[in-house]
Structure formats: C-alpha cells, structure tokens
C-alpha cells in the first residue's frame, strides 16, 4: 500500500533517517583568545602609503597612469589595499560640492572559507556605500566643486567581516592623506563583537562566528565626531553604550598608529 502512495515524479527521501553528528561547539575563548590578545586589544597594524602611486624620491616608481594616492593596510591576517584617484572632473558636473565614490571588492581568494565570485555581489555594494558614508564627512568636499574623488578598495585577505570593513576605512583614510586631499580629519575605525555579554575587540572570523552581536564605529578623533556606526544583533542599551565608548577609545588608539605611519611616510 505504501509503495503505491509514493510519488514517482519526485525524488523521494530515504525511508530511514538518522540524526547527523554535530561537531562539538568549541569555545574560542575557552583559554583566552587564540592569538593571546586581551579582550580590548586590536590586532597589530602595519601600514604603507603609496604602493600604487608615484612617490617623491622613489627611483623605482612606475607608470604615469598611477593613482593619486594609495595605501596598503594590514591588521593581523586582514590585508587591504586602496587606490584613490582625483580630485578629477566629475561625471555629474552641475554640483557645488565634490563627490566621493567608493568601490569595495573582495579578491576571489580573500576569504579562506569561501571562494568569492568576480562579479560584484550585493554585500560588496552595500559595504561600498557604508564606506562612502563613513569617509565622506571627513573630506572637505566644498573645496572641490564639480570634482569627484574615487577610492577603489580591494580586500586581499579577510578575517572577520566587520573587522575587514573597519580596516578598509582606515586604509582609505591613509590613501586619501597620501593623495593630498583636503580633509577635516582622518577617520579611524574599529569593530567589536559581543560574546556572552562581553565585548571583544577586533574579532577574527572564528570569533565573529560565535558572537551574538557586532558593532563598527568610524570616528574622527581630533574633531571628536562619530561618522558611522553600525550594529548587528540584539543588545541592551547599556551594552550598546559601553560598546560605543570602548570603540571610540580603540579608534583613538588606531588613529595614533595611523598618524605615526603617515608622518613617517612624509619625513622619508
């Protein structure tokens, strides 16, 4: 009787089912963080300006079509490069203010857990927009009427989505400074993840996977202004408050590192 009731036009599941064997949920913080950082510590930062643009006093400099400014930024495993073009004649020409456009891309090999497509995905478009919002308030766009400034960001290696976005913001800031674009302040950004009511700074991908909430803040330290804030997941207002405070403190520290790197690149 049962065989008669079976629908032959569909692929039917097996008669007998067994429960899959789940991997034990490993606690990434069981014995401190994997890379023995403290909870409010950002991964070590390395920064270099001008890998894609012509530099003063560099005899090995390359082609004439080079970017106006560029930067390479490393934060732990995260590697991001950014090229800035402009200010140059914009496409929309009847604007009093300059415009800032950003193009954010993951390299196909950048995420070790997943091959990325060459086609620009929806998340890349979204992040591009986020970066524009985070950086544009820092640029003196009123000084560049009718002009546009373009930033092209490529993630070479990613480790933690929110941390990568924060790294991209820092990288663009450095590249804009390298291009000599007038700004009110450099933007420094940093991210956090919430893990069992504990905020953990600059989460790697493994840590982000187990965190219930994430927070990204972009901040201009000398102007004391937050330019962008993004939170995913549910928290209590107190927790958010605490995260904002901690993030701002960390941004100030990241900013100090950025400034020192930029000053070193000028005095070379």
């Amino acid at each position: 009787m049962a065989t008669n009731a079976m629908d032959r036009r569909r692929i039917n599941g097996p008669q007998r089912t067994v429960e899959p064997i789940y991997s034990k949920d490993t606690d990434p913080f069981a014995s401190g963080r994997k890379d023995s950082r403290s909870l409010d510590q950002v991964r070590p930062i390395y920064m270099k300006t001008g890998p894609l643009s012509t530099q003063a006093n560099d005899l090995s400099a390359s082609s004439a079509a080079a970017a106006s400014g560029s930067a390479f930024y490393e934060q732990g495993n995260i590697r991001v490069s950014c090229a800035v073009y402009g200010p140059r004649q914009g496409r929309k020409s009847n604007t009093r203010m300059g415009s800032f456009d950003c193009d954010f891309r993951y390299a196909p090999f950048s995420c070790s857990w997943k091959k990325r497509s060459h086609v620009r995905g929806a998340d890349e478009k979204e992040i591009s927009l986020m970066l524009e919002h985070a950086i544009a308030p820092a640029i003196r766009l009123d000084a560049y009427p009718k002009a546009c400034i373009d930033a092209f960001v490529t993630v070479i290696e990613s480790d933690g989505k929110s941390a990568t976005i924060a790294a991209a913001i820092n990288c663009i800031s450095a590249a804009l400074v390298d291009a000599g674009i007038e700004m009110y302040d450099s933007v420094a950004a940093c991210s956090m993840g919430l893990w069992e009511s504990q905020w953990v700074a600059d989460c790697s991908q493994a840590e982000e996977n187990v965190s219930s909430s994430t927070m990204i803040i972009a901040y201009m330290p000398s102007a004391d202004e937050v330019t962008y804030m993004l939170q995913h997941g549910k928290t209590s207002p107190d927790q958010t408050d605490q995260a904002v405070q901690t993030c701002i403190n960390m941004c100030t520290r990241v900013y100090a590192v950025l400034c020192r790197g930029l000053q070193a690149s000028i005095s070379e």
């Binding site: 140059r88 004649q89 000599g180 009110y184 000398s222 000053q263 000028i266």
Partner: protein, 285 residues
C-alpha cells in the same frame, strides 16, 4: 602641538602634521593653503610640512593637484568637444575650458567665429589631442579658461608626453625651451610636459595654414633617440623630486649620455644618474 610663543616659532617650520592636527590657536596667525579654522584654532587639512610666512600659516603637502593662475602656460589634453568649447584635462581638480572664440584660425585669419567653424570644431582639436595653451581667466566655479591666441600655442605634435608632479615645474619667464641637443621642450606648469623634435619658429610661422595638422613631420632615428632620452631624463628628475627646468634637464641629459636610452630608468643606472645630477645641482648652489 600649540605654537603660541615667539620662542616656539622655530618649530613651526619643521613641524610635520596630518589632517586634523591643531597647528596653533594664536589669533594673530592667518590661515593659508592646506589649513582650516574652527573655534579660533587653525587645523591642518592635508599631511605635510607647516610653513609660515610672517603671519600666514600654510601646510605644504608633497603631492598637490595643480591649481591654475592666470597667465600660466599649460599643456592639456582635449577630453570632450562641447558646444563652442573644448573641455581640456589639465591635471587639475576639474577640466579646463578652451572656448572656440579663444583659438587662432588656420593661417591666422582674424574674423569672428561663424557657425561653420562651430560645425568643424573637430578639425581644429579632436578628443585626445594635446594643446599648448595659456590660462586666460577663471569661470565662476573655479574652472580655468584657456586661450591659444598666439602662434607658439596650439596643437602639439612631433614628440612625446611626460607627466610629472606639478609642483616640480616652477613658473618662469619661458616655458618653451630648445635644448642644445636639438629637442624642444614645453614645460607646462600643470606637470604635463611635451618633448618634441625641434622645429624652427620661422618654419612654424611659414606653415601657419597647418597649425591644426595631425601629421608628424619626418623624424629621423637620431632625433627619436634624443627625444626619448630627454623624456626619460625628465621622468628621472620627477622621481628624484628635483625642480624641472631647462638647466636640470640639460644636467640629467649630459649625465645620461654614457648609457643607452632604454636603461636610463632601471634602478641601478637611475641611482647613479641621481647622484651625478644631485652633485651637479649642489655645485650650482
């Protein structure tokens, strides 16, 4: 970082700043380029070196975009043919304009530009052509207006193009040089440089009908080589971050004579030449 007292003013000249760093809160100072003021404090808006001229504080960055001044001699590339005007890329924040009314007609005929001239604008300058022009005025939005109303200005041909940092080309009496090696150089203050075969001025004037010609003249092998050598020397000076004038180009050219043209920009030869040019410049004082 505040520079308030006279005794600290020495620091002001060697100070390196990044965007957003406070330079001074002394109301006696005026803010110049690369700075902005807020709540009575002067902040830097670019990364660079703080400079002070009397009471004027400005920040000079290593890389600047060219910002035009009236009377500047520039080299530009036509990007668009619009109605009664050409848009010209002059390495600036926005494209410059070259109005149809501010060019010379072939043969130097003096008359108003008619509708038929408007229709054949592409026969004067088409997209991609290089022009040698002078800045005539500004538009209200800060865009530059160029003119080519002189026999020496106009379309560029018979040569090669080099792009350098605009701040390396100083404004001077003459921007058109004929080097002793038989090469003409047009040093645009916007950082665009044209290196070409030497054509005597008398011959240019005699051929006034052909100022918008797109055809190169006959360029011999040796002329090609010296054009390439001068172009590479200018590129070298650019990488050295040395002021680019006719004298420095000649220094670099003479120092480079022992090497093949194609090797000039390889790392070790470039380093050798850099030393030679630098010591020559130091001797000059």
């Amino acid at each position: 970082m505040d520079i308030d007292t006279e005794t600290q003013q020495q620091n002001l000249t060697t100070q390196i700043v990044t965007p957003g760093s406070a330079i001074t809160s002394d109301p006696a100072f005026m803010r110049g380029h690369g700075t902005f003021g807020e709540h009575g404090t002067i902040y830097s808006s670019v990364a660079g070196v703080v400079e002070r001229i009397n009471k004027l504080v400005s920040v000079r960055s290593l890389k600047q975009r060219y910002s035009g001044e009236i009377g500047d001699i520039v080299v530009g590339r036509i990007t668009e043919v619009a109605s009664k005007r050409w848009r010209v890329d002059v390495n600036s924040r926005q494209d410059a304009m070259l109005l149809l009314s501010s060019i010379n007609l072939p043969g130097g005929i003096q008359r108003r530009k008619s509708e038929s001239d408007e229709l054949q604008m592409r026969s004067f300058f088409a997209e991609g052509d290089l022009v040698f022009a002078e800045v005539q005025s500004y538009f209200a939005d800060g865009a530059l207006s160029l003119h080519t109303r002189s026999i020496q200005y106009g379309k560029l041909r018979n040569g090669t193009f080099v792009s350098v940092f605009p701040q390396l080309v100083p404004r001077s009496r003459s921007h058109f040089h004929t080097l002793p090696c038989g090469v003409d150089v047009v040093l645009g203050v916007n950082g665009y440089i044209w290196v070409s075969k030497h054509v005597p001025a008398a011959k240019v004037e005699a051929n006034a009908e052909h100022i918008y010609s797109n055809k190169n003249e006959e360029i011999s092998e040796t002329e090609r080589e010296s054009i390439a050598r001068v172009a590479n020397c200018i590129q070298l000076l650019n990488r050295l971050y040395v002021k680019i004038t006719d004298t420095t180009i000649i220094f670099a050219y003479e120092a480079s004579l022992g090497h093949a043209v194609k090797d000039l920009l390889t790392m070790d030869i470039a380093t050798d030449l850099a030393h030679a040019v630098n010591s020559r410049l130091a001797q000059q004082g």
